[in-house]
Amino acid sequence: MEITLVLGVPLIGGLLLALTGHKRYAAELNALMSLATFVAAALLTGRVIADGPMTALHEQLFIDPFNVFLVALTALVAFTTALFSRPYMRIEQHHGRLNAARLRLYHSMYQLFTFMMLLCLLSNNVGVLWVAMEGATLTTVLLVSLYRTPASIEAAWKYFILCSVGIAQALFGTILLYFAAERVLGPGGTALLWTHLYAVRHQLEPTVVSLAFVFLLLGFGTKVGLVPLHNWLPDAHAEGPTPISAVLSGLLLNVALYAVVRSKVLVDGALGRNFSGDLMMGFGLLSLVVAAFFLSRQKDIKRMFAYSSIEHMGIVTFAFGMGGPVAAFAGLLHMTVHSLTKSAIFFTVGHASQKTGTQNMADIRGLIEQSPTIGWGLVLGSLAILGMPPFGVFTSEFMVLTTAMHEHPWATPFLLVALGVAFAAIFGKVQPMVFGETTARRLPHPPALVPVFLHLALVLLLGLYIPPYLVEWYRQAAAFIG
């Protein structure tokens, strides 16, 4: 029941917003739908806390410890982003960058995007997961090009081409997986159901499955933003509207990574050796290091944080690649805190660039003077994302680092160099934006600050105390991620 609600609300919301056209209250409606989704997700979460994992709709949908918190997180961030996008889009409209038709597109696509991501997470069917993932690309590609500037068109084109091609590889991987599963489960519906696949994972044909994993990793990895498949990511983040950058970084990357991890579980079962783990560690480390070095060369603020997302996805991928209860736990936690922190950062970044009329970091100065809350949000968010305690990002990085140190000591220098370089790069750029003499001006609408500080408070909380049921989910999920 709750599951259908979780999926139904955004779907209906998307259609509704598309059909009604842009009304004055569209932004509120958007937020309301997201709130409803969030409430549904909260109900679902409560149900899972009470009853444990479940399946629905002829096993087509399922919820287990791995996806339950992602569903909740997705719904939460989608809701807070909707809250943020309300004033943000108003201001954009006020500045004449968007018109009513575009806003209509924006709002309906926003809901559909939420739907697609939730479908990805909830789908038990690996094929449907793929479909939803492609759907998420399709819904966001129009959002990235929302401003119709040459740069945004270019970014959207690259996003579209690279992700479509990437996702096509994932489809081939899915087909190969099905090919392998069919031989065990027989043709028909069940051979693509994850729960069934999981049950028979040890009997799957290793060669096929490893081949499938290569395609899946490459396909979904493109959406995760793994280096060298990441090239769409900074462009899309920088040129799209900021709420979209927030959900791309905060949610889409997570969902894509979720798909990778789901595949990894099956492959590990079939292969028995750490083939997938090695690949993921390699990609994770490469992404981490390369992104860290990219950071210092950025001029555009959103682009910089986009690279930071690549870096963090690298960390998570590396963590899952290492495997083991602690590392997987850390990976899950890092997914959570990264999406909360990064979306909070994008909220502040959005307002900051509206205030200064530019995304060029050299022209953003002294935010803390004109708008202390945005300035503090940005600096605290940046520090949090850089792994400063007591924020939660540190917690997961602590676990990743310590695990890496005794399981893969060779990797630690890379991790450390990357973290150090990233720190110098990001903080060196954020500090002058936040402090110093100001260039900011007043905004025509009050900025949305609740989402920023709500997220940061959650991240802070996770740095000091993780609720027991969350721990339990993480543990269970970590146990089968292995």
């Binding site: 084109w157 060298p228 540190f394 140190m405 402090f435 543990r475």
Partner: protein, 674 residues
Amino acid sequence: MTGLLPSPLGGSLAVAVCWLLIAALALLPARNSLFARRIAFPLGALAGLALAALGLRAVWLPPESLVLPLGLPNLPFHLRIDPLAGFFLTLLGAVSAGISTYAAGYFRDEGARRVALIALQYHVFVASMAFVMLADDAYLFMVAWETMALSSYFLVITDHKLPSTRSAGFLYLLIAHLGAIAILLCFGVMSGGRGDYTFDALRAAHLSPQWATVAFLLAFFGFGAKAGMIPLHAWLPEAHPAAPSPVSAMMSGVMIKTAIYGMVRVIYDLIGGVRWEWGMLVLAVGAGTMLFGVLYALMQHDLKRLLAYHSVENIGIILLGLGMSLVFIGSGHPVAGALALIAALYHTLNHAVFKGLLFLGSGSILHATGLRNLNDMGGLIRKLPKTALYFLVGALAISALPPLNGFVSEWLTFQAALQAPILENGVVRSLVPLFAATLALAGALTAMCFVKVYGIAFLGKPREAQHAPAGATGHDARGMELYGMAWLAAGCCMLGLFPSAVLLMLNRVSASLTGQGLSAEALKSSWLWLVPTATQQASYAPIIFLAVIVAVTLLAYLLVRRFYHGRVRFADPWDCGFAEQSPRMQDTADAFGQPIRHVFGPLYLMDRRLPGPEDPAPRFSLKIEDRHWYWLYLPVARLAEFVSAKIALLQQGRVSIYLLYSFLTLLALLVFVR
């Protein structure tokens, strides 16, 4: 009776939480800053006093520990208090009591929002330091450690409109973070793969000598970055002066001591199995740090920067003590090792007190005159007599002059060095006294430097026509500011005059850490005498010393008055009869350092501007730069820049190339999977 008193651990925790509460409260009534302005800091100071008392008690009680239901699922926050932590908590509490009191007066006239923010950050800062000392697992330690760095960073950039402040803050946080990464790595090495990060587990782990050395190096690097040892000191002379003076006092006085705490905790307590080679490294770095610090301090004309360089120097002295202790313990002479450790810890305490005092004094000067540049000062003793008095106490103490406290710890360090003959290894045996020689050199240079500071700032006449900058109050420190300085000045005297009490306390710390304290003879001597080993070998009685010196001075005075007279006439200065005297003809700070520049010329990177002969308003300017920038920091930055420039070639904007990356990756993986 003891049951009625709070347990040291619970009490300390309560104090730390109290600080956090003050911080939180400071934020709430932002508009009406009565709380932040009038109540927060005095309350914080009271809490500090309580903490000092609790810490003192903890030194004499067996260790206590506690687990809080916070933190990681596998690793909740562990707290523990033992004599070492007790000692450092005492240091934190006592010094912060003085500084907070001072801050209560200092920040009275700041803007409401600013003072609220400072009160918030300041108290988070103090509380995090308390947690650093209470932490008993790696995670809580790191959280507290980085919170400390973060809150102090925000305090440093309080005046963020100045570009120099911003770059100082950035450099500070960057080096702090790199250090923290090294510390984290050190914990990782120590846990040796078992994944248990409570200090108990780390203590129990037996590392092979190689891994122990790796852990030691990481800890030394990580904590050294925070302590400001060379070559990681670059942030310190930038960041400490940039902060408001009470914060500088807190950072120089207490914060860099947490690094010493960390070093002692990790090396002695957690790693264990000390080796003398480590000690030699610490000695060498310590001596280098010390000399570097003082030589650069002599070149400074910014008062707070100068004090910051002296912090570098004093960290070197502390490291010298620690190094000797490691050498002795590592060579199987725990008693001598205990003496050196005690000397190091004593100096840690002393430096906290007198450097806190000196920074507060510089704050009062800044408040009254708006000046930081010594070259513009002069004759302040007439304008700020009270500040001048307290500053003199601090200056004499840091110059290691008897009978104040700086002397006692340097004396103990020398005594430790004089134990060198018991070492078996001939090279080490002759090197240890050599390091003592560098200490003697540094001590004398410090005295020179503080003659310069005091002589130029407080004595003589104002050097430049006074154009009091905006915000200068023009009057001497008063009220809370004075009490704060008086408290620390009293500390300088007490620690100098009653060293045997401190010695007993530190003996307990050392005994709990290394299992070995001082010799029995040293401990049973009376409270008047400070005896490190045996009365025959060395002793020092500051009270008697002071009594005699005061008595003879008084006697001389009385005799002169009795037999002759006290007639005085006042006149213009004579100055060998030179008639054309102007205050600008006095030595400036730069001039005072000139002989040292001459002697140690190659050490400095100088940029000197001499006025031309036709110059109507001649000005001499001098800029001394740190060579470390050029051989260490900039090359590293350039390397990172180079690598990132190369990596940036990956992204040239062409979608075909991007597709090609994907394609090649795919092919490579497919080859790999076969």
